[in-house]
């Protein structure tokens, strides 16, 4: 049955909203496939504003992978701002995709990518605008299957009733496997069966790689802790495993990155140079759940940069990963790319660099002939003691050596990122940040002989995350966080010799408590999310839309009859035996290893990186059948005439291509 475009109904509303371009689609490299020649159709959603969602690599990769597949199509949708939301309600325009403006409710799958838990209320908005029943239990075969992905899917329990399924880990192969299951189900007449939807969910669950919350029952102890999580159907696995793509060179996506007309948060092209991280920072969920490290080869990166720039016209390339300077061939890679693009007004950036992996040659290649405005490092903890606890092995001497080199080479500004509220932290640990910042300034003044030196300290509250060694720890309360940050601010401002040279940026503790509630919450938290949404909660990641009081009021109501409350979920220590809401979701990490690593943290013992030392048995590789993939390959980037292709075509005096 043909599905009609909603654009004609949407168009009259667009002249009444802010930044209408974000709703019209038509981006360079976007794809619209014929509806009727496909039998599996995905609506991919990034549950935040277009400007945040459109550069998201995960959505862009899956969009391209799915659209390349035969008889499969994918379109994108983002959260609409309140101005358009109210007009859509008034004029009864349902949720739409930006590509062909087809109704979200007409697709087979609504895939939602949760980079953060703060997008949950936005998903409820889209479900409602799309006419999809809020609860999985109330949907039938006419509704899309709602599948959550992204890092938050490693504990989807707070949204368990609202989603039909969750997929853990890398999506490239998983989305194709799910498409095949849906295709077979359709071929078997599934959509026409009375229990068709239950049948499809069961088929997905039995693959072992798709978590279907409704097929698991959760029971609780009288004190509120979880007693057991168990499958309620035969053939449904006790644990659901994450997906891991091996050999990134075989998955060079996105090949043609989207180029939006609207301004977005990342005005550059990104190339993922490796996936995973084994540095072992204990607070870092991304590093824990994306193991092992899989590098893209230097030649693979070179090819993606070349093709991507030709397809997009971007002026900046970000070499993306969790710790980009750790790539085994980062030096020849940056030098080779800087050589290739010299004189083409193309700049390179490494979004995440560690203090200890940074070196000045690398930084020079990145800024060849360009501006040296600022460098950013993340020591995360203020004292060496706390850095041992979190296993971020950066000494103060490392940091001072690095900033000395940077200031000597022409940089004038250093940004330092920290967290507040780390396990075992005291005021003293945080106050040492002030000493460190002053030493950075003093060093900069000394080596440059200039007073024009700046350092910005940026700090936010630490939120313990599932599948990390800190998953058991009590979060610091928001009042305590704010008090500690106030002491740091006073320490930074009290010394007149440095106060003007040091900038201070911080996030207050309240949003972190809500993030903590959602990160480590269980199914009972779903009612809190629902209450917040009903009370108007949207865009919780935006400070101007976020309301702590709305969350607390909703929690008071939703948890009134439960033996638990917000404090129970956030500022409470868990012990080794407690069943955690995500224990049945397998990130590959051995639970006992995580606990030992937590105990090591308490005694300040550090863990090395398994890329350079023997395996320390985190469990991922044997459990998942994966292995570390690192170079060096020994290959180099040969010089190429890049970005000049096609120039002959426009130059005066050259032969007209039509007559060649």
């Amino acid at each position: 049955m043909p599905v009609e475009s909603l654009f004609a109904r949407l168009e009259p509303l667009l002249s009444q909203v802010q930044k209408p371009i974000q709703y019209v689609g038509g981006e360079l490299n976007s794809t619209v496939k014929d509806w009727d020649s496909c039998d599996v159709r995905w609506a991919l959603m990034y549950p935040d504003a277009y400007e945040v969602g459109v550069p998201n690599q995960g959505v862009m990769i899956l969009y391209e992978v799915l659209n390349e597949a035969a008889r499969t199509l994918a379109e994108r949708t983002y959260t609409v701002w309140p101005d358009l939301e109210s007009l859509m309600r008034e004029h009864q325009v349902p949720a739409f995709t930006v590509d062909a403006h087809r109704p979200v409710g007409a697709f087979d799958v609504l895939g939602v990518s949760f980079a953060t838990e703060l997008g949950y209320t936005n998903m409820l908005q889209t479900l409602q605008l799309a006419g999809i029943p809020r609860r999985s239990a109330d949907r039938d075969t006419s509704h899309p299957v709602v599948i959550a992905g992204g890092h938050s899917a490693f504990n989807p329990e707070p949204v368990a009733e609202f989603i039909d399924a969750a997929v853990l880990g890398d999506g490239e192969q998983a989305v194709l496997e799910i498409s095949d299951v849906i295709r077979r189900w359709k071929a078997d007449g599934g959509p026409q069966q009375a229990d068709g939807r239950a049948d499809l969910l069961l088929r997905l669950a039995r693959t072992g790689g798709v978590y279907v919350p409704s097929l698991y029952d959760v029971s609780y102890l009288p004190d509120g802790r979880i007693q057991r999580v168990a499958p309620n159907r035969p053939g449904v696995p006790w644990r659901v495993t994450k997906h891991t793509v091996m050999n990134l060179d075989e998955w060079p996506y996105p090949k043609k990155p989207l180029v939006p007309l609207a301004e977005s948060v990342h005005e550059r092209m990104s190339v993922e140079i490796f996936r995973g991280c084994t540095r072992g920072c204990r607070f870092c969920q991304a590093g824990m759940i994306t193991r092992p490290v899989r590098e893209r080869s230097i030649t693979g990166v070179g090819e993606m940069v070349e093709k991507g720039l030709q397809a997009t016209g971007f002026e900046e390339v970000g070499l993306l990963s969790l710790s980009s300077a750790d790539h085994s061939e980062i030096a020849p890679m940056t030098k080779g790319l800087a050589d290739r693009y010299e004189g083409t007004q193309t700049s390179l950036s490494l979004p995440s660099t560690r203090v200890d992996a940074f070196n000045i040659d690398l930084a020079n290649e990145l800024t060849r002939g360009g501006r040296r405005s600022g460098l950013t490092f993340a020591p995360e903890g203020g004292s060496e003691r706390i850095r041992r606890v979190i296993n971020k092995m950066v000494t103060e001497e490392d940091l001072i050596r690095t900033v000395t080199a940077a200031y000597s080479a022409g940089w004038r500004q250093v940004k330092l990122y920290f967290m507040c509220g780390l396990p075992t932290e005291t005021d003293e640990d945080v106050l040492q940040i002030a000493d460190l910042a002053k030493r950075v300034i003093a060093t900069g003044r000394e080596v440059t002989g200039s007073r024009d030196i700046r350092c910005t300290v940026s700090i936010g509250g630490f939120v313990p995350k599932p599948h990390t060694p800190f998953q058991w720890v009590a979060q610091l309360g928001h009042r305590e966080t704010d008090a500690r940050l106030a002491k740091l601010r006073d320490a930074l401002r009290s010394d007149k010799a440095f106060a003007k040279a040091i900038g201070f940026r911080y996030h207050d503790g309240k949003p972190g408590i809500v993030e903590g509630l959602l990160s480590r919450g269980d199914r009972r938290v779903g009612k809190v999310i629902e209450g917040v949404y009903e009370a108007g909660g949207r865009f919780d990641g935006w400070s101007e839309h976020f309301s702590f009081d709305r969350w607390m009021a909703a929690a008071d109501v939703a948890l009134a009859d439960e033996p638990v409350d917000v404090d129970w979920y956030t500022v409470r220590d868990r012990d080794h035996t407690e069943v955690l809401p995500w224990d049945h979701l397998d990130s590959g990490l051995d639970r006992d290893w995580l606990w030992e690593d937590w105990q090591d943290a308490l005694s300040g013992e550090e863990v090395e990186d398994c890329r350079w030392t023997p395996c320390f048995d985190c469990g991922v590789c044997p459990q998942m059948g994966t292995e570390i993939q690192v170079g060096p390959t020994g290959k180099t980037l040969i010089p190429l005439t890049v970005l000049g292709d096609g120039r002959d075509e426009v130059l005066a005096g050259s032969a007209d291509p039509a007559y060649r």
């Binding site: 002249s15 038509g26 005005e267 292709d645 005096g653």
Partner: protein, 259 residues
């Protein structure tokens, strides 16, 4: 001491080209900044040998003139680019058009022939004296629109207010209007009544835009269209005031090339 970029300064401009383009369909919702980003990326994809400004963040030499507001379509947008290598205007037009998304269309590229040395040439933007706008009012009878137009034209002034970056501004929307007429939609369309306004407005400061004239028609002529008006700029260029017409701003360049 301020750092300067290493290496030689960027190559000089050897050729200037004027570009006539259109903003159509759903891409009329792009803002001028959106268009700028899209255009500069298209220049890179098409490998146009742009001349760049000097300094740490060199910018390609592009000057934009009189862009249509967000949400308004246009058949008559203009900009000028400076090149570091000479290009063939016709082939550059085709390459640029291919590199832009559909609905952002490059219609013509004309070379700027420099005048004799030491002569001062008026900037291109000065040629854009007025615009011709077409406003489609679905659900409005042509006769009703005509009565509102007559009242508007008979008025001395039409005070309207618009929210600008600097707050609410009130100004006269009447004096800048050179010509305004109403007619029915072309025959063959049977979807109810529809009036078409043809509007010629002189470019003044503060700018009088089609929505300002519509506000004036509402105030003075009680004209209240039931749905959002569709606006398109048909032309902009030198104004022939007595005739109420606007001519092609690229004609002098085309003549210079031909001569």
């Amino acid at each position: 001491m301020a750092r300067t970029p290493e290496g030689p300064p960027p190559p000089p401009t050897v050729q200037r080209l004027r570009v006539h383009y259109a903003k159509r369909g759903r891409l009329r919702f792009s803002s001028h900044r959106d268009f700028q980003r899209a255009f500069e990326r298209a220049l890179r994809r098409a490998a146009v040998p742009m001349a760049y400004s000097a300094g740490f963040s060199p910018h390609p030499k592009v000057s934009y003139a009189g862009a249509a507001p967000t949400g308004v379509a246009s058949e008559a947008e203009y900009l000028e680019i400076g090149l570091a290598q000479r290009c063939d205007p016709g082939r550059l037009r085709a390459a640029l058009d291919r590199s832009l998304p559909p609905d952002l269309d490059v219609l013509e590229v004309v070379e700027v022939i420099p005048g004799p040395e030491n002569t001062k040439v008026a900037p291109f933007a000065d040629r854009l004296e007025a615009s011709v706008w077409e406003i489609t009012l679905a659900g409005v009878e042509a006769g009703v629109a005509q009565r509102a137009v007559d009242l508007f034209l008979a008025a001395e002034r039409a005070e309207v207010s618009r929210m600008t970056k600097n707050g609410l501004r009130t100004f006269d929307a009447r004096a800048a209007v050179v010509a305004l007429s109403a007619g029915p939609r072309a025959a063959g369309n049977s979807e109810g009544p529809c009036a078409i306004l043809r509007l010629v407005v002189r470019h003044v400061t503060p700018a009088v835009r089609p929505d300002d004239v519509l506000a004036g028609l509402r105030q003075i002529g009680d004209l209240a269209p039931p749905s959002a008006p569709a606006v398109v700029r048909l032309a902009q260029g030198p104004l022939d005031e007595p005739a109420g017409t606007v001519s092609d701003p690229l004609a002098p360049d085309r003549d210079a090339v031909g001569g």
